[in-house]
Amino acid sequence: MQTGLDFTVIWTNITYFFIGRFPHGALGGIALTLYLAVISCILSFIGGLFLGLMGISHNKIIRYLSTAILNIIRGMPLLMVIFWMYFLLPAMMGGNVNESWTVIMALTLFTSAYMSQIVKAGVEGIPRGQTEAALSTGLHPWQAMIYIVLPQGLRNMIPSFVNQFVSMIKDTSLAFIVGVSELTHVATQINNRTIIYPTEIFFFIAVIYFIICYAFTSLSRWLEKRLAWRR
């Protein structure tokens, strides 16, 4: 120990950690972290559903296409996906794209690939007899998927979705790299301003992330037990 730890720096900046400059400026800190995670999670659920259903399609070309997309995305580091978005989105949209949306798009694309695996496993976990019964009562294959298989599969997928949400919260920390003022970025700002308290600041935000993520991890375990018991 060279110098003692002094946590007063946390208390003097506590609102900045939680909401950034919010009432007077943009939302930041933990609030922005959660906002980014929730929005990207909803979008990547839709993307994952889409990719996952492509993966179990009867059409070979669609199936290969989804495999190719999956392999490329899963082979890339998230950081690389963020740089691609940061670089490509303005070129495609013409003009500036808000950094938050750059990150949301990158997180969505990246996580959709993982979500699709969950969707695929969930759908394949439903016995084939269900689909066959649905088809023999005259439902279209799509109707059988939407009304019979997916609702049952989705329930089994819930714990995995919650785990994915936890990864998403951790992944939002990379938004720091393009200057989105979520929790990690806010911490580096405070660290640059105060200079001598890096240990306290980074330990504090690690604990904050831990509390949020651990709560959701526990929720997922609880759900898993409950759902297993229901069946």
């Binding site: 580091p77 670089f87 240990t199 980074f202 690690a206 992330y209 831990f210 651990y214």
Partner: protein, 235 residues
């Protein structure tokens, strides 16, 4: 977008090609060092997690939960910016003389990945039916010997695919080391972009390296699953 002139020569030869190559070299170096350390540490933590002594088990449990539920980036920053206050002066002096960016990245990647590896090892051991251990014990093997000859050889074979996936994740995660100035592949791709404005080419080159690496490893794991694990499960 239409006005963009592609110039692939930027990334296939000359100075910028060398930058990317040196970046790849650093990525491989960083990953390999962290893979070795994180495997060893993960093994220790897994053993502690399965120990009979309660405090040891609780420590391992706390370790796992804490490091798995914290972003890697925050851990990197903590070790890079914040570790000087909790380390003895002697170590700090030594660290400052060496390549500390690289060291901090290795520490963070090792600790982060070891938590995931420990869980994979543990579930591998748990997947071996308890009766195997009982059978081994009743035919006269000691606990350690039955672990050595009966349980672990099977558990290792089951654990290899998830372990390799963790190593692959580690390699991809090593890109985060660029945030503290380790000049690995992603860092160099970014450098090439800012020096030449040829971002498309630079990012494509780096992406290609990561994707090809991951596809090769994934194929190897799939092959291993088919050839080694499926016959084992069928038995």
């Amino acid at each position: 977008m239409l006005k963009y002139q592609f110039d692939w020569s930027v990334v296939t030869s000359g100075k910028y090609f060398e930058w990317l190559l040196s970046g790849l070299y650093t990525t491989i170096q960083l990953s390999l060092v962290a893979i070795v350390f994180s495997f060893l540490l993960g093994l220790v933590i897994a053993m502690m997690r399965m120990s009979n002594a309660k405090p040891v088990r609780w420590f391992a449990h706390g370790y796992l939960e804490f490091f798995r539920n914290t972003p890697l980036l925050v851990q990197i920053f903590f070790w890079y910016f914040g570790s000087y206050k909790i380390l003895p002066t002697v170590i700090n002096d030594w660290l400052n003389k060496t390549n500390f960016e690289f060291g901090a990245a290795v520490i963070a990647l090792t600790i982060y990945t070891s938590a995931f590896i420990a869980e994979d090892i543990r579930s591998g051991v748990r997947s071996i039916p308890k009766e195997q251990l009982e059978a081994a014990r009743s035919s006269g093997f000691s606990y350690v010997r039955s672990m050595q000859y009966i349980i672990l050889p099977q558990a290792v074979r089951i654990t290899i695919p998830p372990l390799i996936n963790q190593f692959l994740n580690l390699t991809k995660n090593s890109s985060l080391a660029m945030t503290i100035g380790v000049m690995e592949l992603t860092y160099q791709a970014r450098q090439v972009e800012s020096y030449t404005f040829k971002g498309f080419e630079a990012f494509t080159a780096a992406t290609l390296v990561y994707v090809v690496l991951s596809i090769i490893i994934t194929l190897m794991v799939t092959y291993y699953d088919k050839v080694v694990l499926s016959p084992m499960k069928a038995r």
